[in-house]
């Protein structure tokens, strides 16, 4: 009966209730949205690389190594010698290895020199392997495989010629335009930095630098294509490499062995551990975002409470009537709490629906433009906790008008 009364009472004050409902819906939409995207972004982020047990590079900070080897951000401090790569990967415990050579770019996108192992062993997310949207792995010296974003943003398709640039700036004055690469494959979108990378063979990287010295092109290259293909293009150094081990249990043992490798200073990191360290740093930003949306929600709660507080005066006859039919003052308290709860509940439903619709509509755009693969299902344990927290918060804030109603009811006479 009380629920019925509060529903009818709210519907009777459509105008102000609708506005409060909208304010509440928008704030819950923001809060749920931020929380949902935050979780999904974290999941996406932590799954940028998976299945890789160790990443090895020249001695540097672990976050720096992760940044340049996985996220292609920043510059490697030191290359490591090819000999080192061979020595370490010859260990019995190593199952597979992916060498990485960075340093060139194409229109701002990084070029990654690697081997075919990359397509076979690199995985992201829940052990997803890279898939080809079209084409195949690189076979010849001047073949290139594009990440999804590179292909879509720059409009490349199979068979196109791509000239790489020396260095990593988006506008480069020293181009390897004498030796263009042919697009032979385009990868499906992954939502990871792979989408923003051009993949070529290590030999390809060597080939375009063959007549360069000290980072500068010597004039008039005389080496022909066929000579190049015959040349010994074994790289002398690489930037880093990723390792898959036969036994996970051996990871720390292998890590220590690599860190103690004497011929050259190298360091091995566990990508999962460093990823969470890195997220911890980014986490400050997202916590701020969450805090701001929580404050928006609290202000919406206060708005609803203010609306109800203002309505108490015009409802004094209702209160009088309830008292005269025997309603104790606490009934008024409950009634107003119930009204706030109903507004909040309805707002949660509306905001959840709105968010689900928005995510469904924007899903493809988010994946292709921002590499964010956001799940549409909002009913996660976390969002249910969040909704419970919002309901509790609204109940607490509603104590203000409810108590006012209670006092009014106590003081009511005929």
């Amino acid at each position: 009966m009380l629920a019925k009364l509060s529903i009818h009472s709210l519907m009777d004050r459509k105008g102000s209730v609708m506005l409060s409902l909208m304010a509440m819906t928008v704030s819950i939409f923001v809060l749920l949205g931020v929380e949902h995207i935050r979780h999904q972004a974290k999941d996406n982020f932590s799954s940028t690389v998976s299945g890789v047990d160790l990443i090895v590079g020249g001695r540097t900070g672990s976050i720096n190594l992760l940044l340049y080897s996985v996220f292609r951000i920043g510059a490697p401090t030191n290359n490591i010698r090819w000999q080192t790569y061979e020595n370490i990967t010859n260990s019995k415990q190593v199952k597979w290895a992916i060498p990485i050579s960075l340093g060139d770019s194409h229109k701002g996108y990084r070029v990654l020199g690697t081997t075919k192992n990359y397509f076979q062993h690199f995985s992201y997310g829940k052990k997803h392997h890279l898939e080809f949207f079209s084409g195949h792995k690189f076979d010849r010296l001047f073949d290139v495989v594009l990440g999804a974003e590179v292909a879509s943003k720059l409009g490349y398709k199979l068979g196109d010629k791509v000239a790489l640039a020396h260095g990593i700036a988006s506008t480069s004055f020293s181009k390897h335009d004498d030796r263009p690469f042919t697009v032979v494959g385009i990868l499906s979108a992954t939502g990871t930095p792979v989408d923003q990378t051009l993949h070529v063979s290590l030999q390809g990287i060597e080939a375009i630098h063959i007549d360069w010295q000290q980072g500068v092109k010597t004039s008039n290259s005389t080496i022909t294509q066929s000579e190049l293909e015959q040349a010994d293009l074994q790289p002398k150094s690489i930037t880093a490499f990723m390792l898959g081990l036969n036994s996970k249990i051996a990871t720390f043992q292998v890590q220590r062995a690599i860190n103690e490798y004497t011929p050259e200073p190298v360091v091995a990191i566990l990508p999962g551990v460093v990823l969470s360290e890195l997220w911890g740093m980014i986490g400050v930003l997202e916590n701020t975002l969450l805090l701001v949306s929580a404050l928006i929600f609290v202000s919406a709660c206060l708005g609803v409470s203010a609306m109800l507080l203002a309505s108490i005066r015009e409802r004094r006859y209702e209160i009088q009537l309830l008292r005269i039919v025997g309603a104790p003052p606490y009934v008024l308290f409950l009634l107003i709490e119930l009204e706030v709860l109903m507004i909040t509940l309805l707002s949660c439903v509306l905001a959840g629906g709105l968010l689900a619709v928005c995510l469904a509509v924007l899903h493809d755009t988010l994946v292709s433009h921002y590499g964010l693969n956001i799940e549409i299902n909002l009913l996660t344990e976390d969002s249910l906790y969040l909704i419970a927290a919002m309901l509790s918060a609204s109940i607490i804030v509603a104590v203000i008008p409810s108590f006012s109603g209670y006092r009014k009811a106590r003081a009511t006479s005929v």
């Binding site: 025997g326 104790p328 006479s413 005929v414």
Partner: protein, 226 residues
């Protein structure tokens, strides 16, 4: 005795010098239909507040239907009022946004009666007796005419079968025809149900309907405005 007031003094809190009521003794016999005439501002609302248990006297004893209201707790008075006292106002007797049946269900909600299966049947019987036609049962009560609203108000006041009915200027917003219709409907209900009626109004022309006619100023010796 339906009502017995002994040595009642009442002032609002913080205004001890502004005594609104001072009633040495006043009573109403069970089954009596009393008309109390009083101008607005003569302590009338305060008296009804005391009798309904919404106010407690600063001093004295309020006995209604044999129970000492001044000795009860707030909860007990609320319960007592819900179960034993019917009340009709001049206006705003009903929640305007819910229908007539829900208004009666709401009134029954707080009384001591538990069996609600028969309640709807009783409501319909009551509506029948008060000439409230079926098409008015399910409309929000604000859509009813004032005359219809006052009839639903009587039904609301009677649904818990109170022994005491208090009517507070119930006819003041009605025209003459509606006023007479109202009285002709109310009085037999009171008599048939053997209720005690306390009818307060400034309109002396209604006094012919009652067995006892009094003026508030006859038994309230306070001069103050309240």
């Amino acid at each position: 005795m339906a009502i017995k007031l002994t040595d009642i003094r009442f002032h609002y809190s913080g205004q001890p010098n502004n005594r609104v009521l001072n009633i040495p003794s006043w009573s109403l016999k069970t089954g009596e239909q009393a008309f109390v005439q009083g101008p607005s501002g003569g302590g009338k609302s305060t008296l009804l507040g005391l009798l309904s248990g919404l106010l407690t006297p600063s001093h004295g004893q309020v006995t209604v239907l044999g129970e000492r209201l001044d000795e009860m707790s707030g909860r007990q008075r609320d319960q007592f009022r819900a179960s034993h006292i019917g009340y009709v106002f001049q206006q705003f007797n009903l929640m305007p946004y819910i229908n007539a049946i829900d208004n009666l269900l709401l009134a029954a909600r707080f009384s001591s009666r538990k069996n609600s299966n028969l309640l709807k049947d009783e409501i319909k019987t009551l509506f029948g007796a008060l000439n409230i036609s079926e098409k008015e049962w399910y409309r929000p009560t604000r859509d009813l005419s004032i005359g219809q609203q006052q009839r639903v108000a009587i039904a609301r006041a009677l649904i818990n079968k109170p022994q005491l009915l208090i009517a507070d200027e119930p006819t003041s917003s009605l025209d003459k025809a509606n006023r007479d219709a109202f009285m002709k409907l109310l009085m037999p209900m009171v008599v048939d149900n053997q209720m005690t009626l306390l009818f307060v109004s400034h309109d002396l022309s209604l006094s012919s309907y009652f067995t006892k006619v009094e003026s508030l100023s006859d038994f309230n010796s306070s001069e103050a405005i309240g």
